[in-house]
């Protein structure tokens, strides 16, 4: 069952079809919520988003891709969550434990690479909110500019400029490649 069919059937009340959609996108939705700052409440956010998406499914344009539409709802839910916390979203991004890909012959080089990654990540965390959101969507979530625009609810131009500023700021903080 492809997305279009699953959506059409969901609209007709077929919850099994909607389950297919949820299962298909839950990992991506979870990653998105987490990356955008939902932290360990990502799971709640995602569940909420899927319930909401079902409720609003009638407003979904049949010829549009489902993915960014759904992620927009996930992003909104995440935003609501962080706003209700009354503070900045918790960007608890960490490097995975196995992130330092060991190069046995070059422990020093590996250490340098790990160090740079850590600094880059810290710099991303420290970006102003909009720039950070743009960078997270574009690179960590690997969304296109158009998708990022839809997900964040910004014009594409804003995505471009925020990304650009973010990149410039990051380079200012960590310098160029392995500098």
């Amino acid at each position: 069952m492809d997305d279009d069919e699953a959506i059409a059937r969901s609209l007709e009340g077929d919850l099994a079809a909607y389950e297919v959609l949820v299962a298909r996108y839950s990992a991506l939705a979870h990653r998105t919520a987490f990356m955008l700052g939902a932290g360990d409440e990502a799971e709640d956010v995602v569940q909420e988003a899927f319930v909401k998406a079902f409720r609003h499914l009638s407003g979904f344009r049949a010829d549009a891709p489902f993915r960014p539409w759904l992620l927009r709802i996930v992003a909104n839910e995440t935003h609501n969550l962080t706003r209700s916390r009354g503070r900045r979203s918790s960007l608890e991004l960490r490097l995975a434990g196995n992130a330092d890909t060991r190069v046995p012959d070059d422990p020093e080089g590996a250490a340098v690479a790990t160090d740079r990654r850590s600094r880059l990540l810290a710099a991303v965390r420290g970006l102003p909110e909009r720039e950070r959101q743009a960078v997270v969507c574009r690179y960590f979530l690997q969304l296109s500019e158009a998708e990022t625009a839809q997900v964040l609810g910004w014009p594409v131009g804003t995505v471009k400029s925020s990304t650009h500023r973010g990149l410039a700021r990051l380079r200012g903080e960590v310098g160029d490649e392995l500098a």
Partner: protein
């Protein structure tokens, strides 16, 4: 992924300073680095997709028949009116062309459900006579597998606490979902359910009319059309489908075949009866229900309904849809499996019924 999004051209916000257009040139390497970094980030494992799907579905189904469905599914103008404080899910307005519109008009719009659905009402038991066992009431909070709960980061300041605002939001969504779902589940119940939204729950070849008052009991007892007892060895020759037996019960005391081989009934001591029949297109049985309303459950992971009380049961003539009363049936579990419909009558509890149903060979 296609990226032909609505926002193609407009650049509303000029690039500042270094506005030399696209980002290719200068940031290539940094972009590649960031992408690689994204892949190395420690994102907690998402819940298994099937768990999330089940949890969402349970949320969407949470309001099914108990309390809400009665008033809600009764009236064809439901969604907007039964819970005025929620935005009406207009798109879900029921289609009224359903066969069920001929159902007895016992609806009483004024008595609809907002009270029972009020935010924060966790246990629906109090909203009237004969609500379901509170332990099995509709789920009003988020649903998540318990195991996932434990994965919360131990040191977090706010632990599992949610702000009141968030809880409020949830409650509101529970209501919205409730209103939508009361209608949805009716249609979602059968593969053909999309054909018609009615005030009637149709599922597994059974049409369930849910009223607000308990229907008068059927005092007579009739048999199914053409029902006759058959030696077990002859059943395969007479039934139109492969007959299954629940392992949990062992061999039945007797077996009957009815309706020209489309219905097979098995009987065990203690009033246990399993009907299995093919034909998912049009309902064969009808049940008339007042409170308590049916409870959603699962059999081998698939949708099932537990009808907790005794209730009038009859069948529907294939020729002209006439309803023929059969008898007062005991509590019944109904479900579908491999395009066959099943109803298990007479189990002592829902759990027991589900256990038996799950053992179907």
């Amino acid at each position: 992924m296609n990226s032909h999004e609505p926002f193609e051209e407009p650049v509303d916000e000029p690039l500042d300073g270094t506005s030399d257009g696209p980002l290719d040139g200068p940031f290539d390497e940094l972009e590649a680095e960031l992408t690689a970094l994204g892949n190395l980030l420690d994102v907690p494992g998402p819940p298994p997709p099937s768990d999330m799907a089940a949890a969402v579905r349970a949320r969407l189904e949470q309001v099914t028949p108990p309390h809400d469905a009665r008033p809600t599914t009764r009236d064809t103008h439901v969604p907007g009116t039964s819970a005025p404080d929620t935005s009406a899910p207009d798109a879900e307005a029921p289609r009224t062309s359903a066969p069920g519109t001929s159902a007895p008009g016992t609806s009483a719009p004024g008595t609809s459900a907002p009270d029972a659905e009020a935010p924060g009402v966790e246990a629906p038991g109090g909203s009237g006579a004969g609500g379901p066992d509170p332990a099995h009431g509709p789920i009003t909070g988020p649903v998540r597998p318990h195991t996932r709960r434990d994965s919360r980061a131990p040191g977090r300041r706010d632990g599992g606490r949610r702000s009141p605002a968030r809880r409020g939001r949830r409650a509101r969504w529970a209501i919205v979902a409730a209103v939508v779902v009361a209608v949805i589940t009716v249609t979602a119940a059968t593969p053909q359910g999309r054909a018609a939204v009615t005030q009637i729950l149709r599922f597994a070849g059974i049409e369930i009319e849910i009223g607000e008052t308990t229907p008068p009991p059927v005092t007579t007892t009739a048999t199914l059309p053409g029902e006759h007892q058959v030696p077990r060895t002859d059943v395969p020759g007479q039934a139109r489908f492969q007959v299954r037996t629940p392992a949990a019960l062992g061999d039945p005391q007797r077996v009957t075949v009815a309706d020209d081989g489309r219905m097979v009934s098995m009987f065990w001591p203690g009033g246990l009866r399993l009907d299995q029949f093919d034909g998912t297109v049009s309902p064969f049985f009808f049940k008339k229900l007042g409170p308590p309303a049916p409870e959603y459950t699962r059999v081998n992971g698939r949708e099932a309904w537990w009808i907790p009380g005794e209730h009038p049961l009859g069948y529907i003539l294939r020729q002209d849809g006439t309803q023929v009363p059969l008898r007062q049936a005991a509590a019944t579990l109904i479900w579908q499996q491999d395009s066959l419909n099943f109803r298990l009558e007479g189990a002592k509890s829902k759990a027991e019924a589900v256990r038996i149903a799950s053992s179907l060979g």
